[in-house]
């Protein structure tokens, strides 16, 4: 008996040539920006400026302007930090882990997903910095020789591990992204007519000429960077989870945190990628490169990581009861039925129930449904961090100091401001940078392009 496996769907639709790929990606950069771009940019810039204003007010006044009190000493600042770092996990996962697994579909989304990662980590990094209050002392987190009797930073502290993890993650992702961008900037440099753009892309492309030896090095550097970035992706959110897991607060003190946080981060990161990609492919007419199959693959990742997160929630709940520690059990009973029940149940609905709908092929291939779910997941993941952080500390061992957390206008302003700044960066990226990895897409055209796929199809039926 002779059985052949089905040929996979092509990753590049339409009968594209190498030149078509260049044209499709470069056109939106060379043309005038659509009106909608200016509208979105203005909205994002206003929100971003408002955020910058609230941050300046915070720095001038002190962190007392946040809604924190003596019981809830950590709330929106760290919630937003973890939320943004989580979102920043998809890009490097897509470009590094999927590179190691030789997943060709990553090539349509890795460039913009990584841009998103970098901007999200920028936003995340802002929160610990402003939380210091006296931001001009920020260099104190580095082990620098000093005159306080040579007092060093505490290398036992997960907060310091975070300093190293986030800065390594940010800078390595940035380098990985930029090294991939250099050849594509060279393509733009050799294409654009406008002298100002030409100068800009000449500067950005570092004199790339596409020699065989350079490509040889390029491929190895990409592979090795992917190799070192893969454990980095997993380490960063593990370390973020240590901020909580190494404490002795009931509800935080759990060993399940590192894998649970990493799965949650990938989950929320992919959701944000979906939100952005679905809009971008439409606005920049990239439907041939990012199509239903790509969306479906990402939805499967969302479904799997969402299920891991769901199992983690239930395990946590079970262990809090099974441990027999009454404080531990109370932390979880309070989460589900205390004054923050609404946050807990929105988290459960958004993160555990909604990704399960992806089991239906019709739903996971529906773009509108995906868009809605991606936003639902991002809201759910924000609530997850809020639930973990605030509900674990708002009722501590001493009932007389139990309290609630109410965000102040500054809390809200900074959060909304980071969303604005994030979109300012992303819109600038989409306007001036090649949003698809041109050089990588061209390498898969012959193995995954539609016309070439059909050739092999004819060949197969000819047997």
């Amino acid at each position: 008996m002779h059985k052949e496996s089905a040929i996979r769907e092509p990753l590049i639709l339409g009968h594209k040539t190498y030149h078509d790929i260049t044209d499709d990606v470069c056109k939106p950069i060379e043309d005038k920006a659509p009106k909608m771009w200016y509208v979105l940019f203005t909205i994002a810039a206003i929100l971003g400026l408002y955020g910058v204003g609230t941050i300046l007010y915070l720095l001038g006044t002190g962190i007392g302007v946040w809604g924190l009190n003596k019981t809830v000493g950590w709330a929106w600042d760290i919630t937003n930090f973890v939320w943004w770092v989580g979102i920043g996990h998809a890009g490097t996962l897509i470009s590094a882990v999927l590179l190691l697994f030789r997943q060709k579909w990553r090539m349509a989304i890795n460039r913009s997903a990584e841009a998103m990662t970098i901007f999200a980590v920028f936003m995340a990094g802002l929160f610990p910095l402003i939380h210091m209050g006296r931001i001009w002392m920020a260099y104190w987190v580095l082990p620098l020789p000093n005159q306080f009797g040579s007092l060093w930073v505490n290398f036992n502290s997960p907060l310091l591990w975070d300093v190293f993890a986030i800065s390594t993650y940010l800078s390595v992702s940035l380098v990985f992204w930029y090294i991939g961008l250099i050849p594509d900037f060279a393509t733009l440099r050799d294409r654009v007519k406008n002298p100002l753009s030409k100068r800009m892309y000449t500067l950005l492309s570092f004199g790339w000429s596409g020699r065989a030896k350079h490509w040889n090095r390029f491929e190895l550097v990409s592979l090795v960077l992917a190799g070192v970035a893969t454990p980095l992706v997993f380490s960063v959110h593990s370390i973020v989870s240590f901020d909580f897991a190494t404490s002795v607060i009931p509800g935080w003190h759990t060993t399940i945190f590192p894998p649970y946080f990493v799965a949650g981060a990938v989950f929320s990161g992919f959701a944000m990628v979906q939100t952005l990609m679905l809009v971008m492919r439409k606005a920049m007419r990239l439907e041939a490169y990012i199509h239903t199959k790509h969306v479906e693959y990402m939805n499967i990742v969302i479904m799997v990581t969402g299920s891991i997160v769901g199992v983690a929630y239930l395990t946590e709940l079970f262990v809090s009861w099974y441990s027999g520690v009454e404080y531990e059990s109370y932390a979880f009973i309070n989460r589900a039925s205390g004054p923050y029940w609404w946050a807990y149940w929105s988290m459960m609905t958004c993160n555990v129930v909604s990704p399960q709908l992806m089991w239906f092929k019709k739903l996971r291939r529906s773009l509108l449904f995906t868009f809605i779910i991606s936003i639902v997941v991002n809201i759910g993941m924000w609530f997850e961090r809020f639930v973990i952080i605030v509900t674990s500390i708002h009722r501590d061992y001493l009932p007389s100091s139990w309290s609630m957390f109410y965000p102040s206008p500054v809390d809200i302003g900074i959060f909304v401001g980071t969303i604005g700044l994030f979109f300012v960066f992303f819109l600038l990226f989409a306007r001036f940078f090649p949003v698809l990895a041109l050089n990588e897409l061209k390498t898969i055209l012959k193995s995954s392009g539609e016309s070439y796929k059909n050739q092999s199809d004819d060949h197969a039926t000819g047997h």
């Binding site: 190293f164 060279a186 004199g207 380490s235």
Partner: protein, 178 residues
């Protein structure tokens, strides 16, 4: 010494690769290939050796690992030992668990950045550098093979051009260089 280069342009990577194979079999030396993306399998044909950047990344990583270990041992054990909850830092080994995250991060930091910087320096691709691809289309959809007359002394210019024309080129160009 004056020299002449011949640029043969192709519009397909596989045609260029086949052409290169035939030319090399006849003893022609191909000095360079310019392409818009990596052509897999071209390196052994035209004699480009596998890069050693991977080894460098390992060395940079080991440097990071060593620095992190020495640094944290000095800061936390020798220079300013801390006694937290009656658990003093007396030896490095007993406290190593707390040092693993930063040791790992610093190893990755040094390996990645060391390799990236070496890569840019070795390629001579740095901000402000001038590109020298012979045709602007080689960053779009064309592939150019470069032959030098001085490296192919056994053939005349006309013979080389005739051989190139058999390999499916779309354009031929030449340039005097110093």
């Amino acid at each position: 010494m004056a020299d002449k280069v011949i640029y043969a342009m192709y519009d397909d990577d596989d045609v260029l690769k086949d052409g290169a194979k035939k030319l090399v079999a006849k003893g022609v030396k191909i000095s360079e290939v310019f392409s818009p993306f990596p052509i897999h399998g071209i390196d052994p044909i035209i004699g480009v050796k596998q890069t050693r950047l991977g080894i460098m990344a390992f060395i940079y990583g080991m440097t990071g690992l060593t620095l992190a270990t020495i640094g944290m041992r000095f800061f936390m054990i020798d220079d300013w030992p801390m006694n937290i909850g009656g658990k003093p830092n007396n030896t490095y080994l007993e406290n190593i668990l707390a040092f693993i995250p930063i040791t790992f991060e610093f190893t990755v930091l040094c390996a990645a950045h060391g390799m990236a910087i070496t890569y840019l320096l070795r390629n001579k691709t740095l901000p402000g550098m001038k590109a020298d691809n012979p045709d602007p289309r080689t960053t779009d959809d064309k592939f150019v093979m470069e032959l030098r007359l001085s490296e192919n002394a056994q053939y005349s210019e006309d013979e080389l051009q005739a051989m190139l024309k058999e390999t499916g080129i779309i354009e031929l160009d030449q340039k005097e260089i110093k």
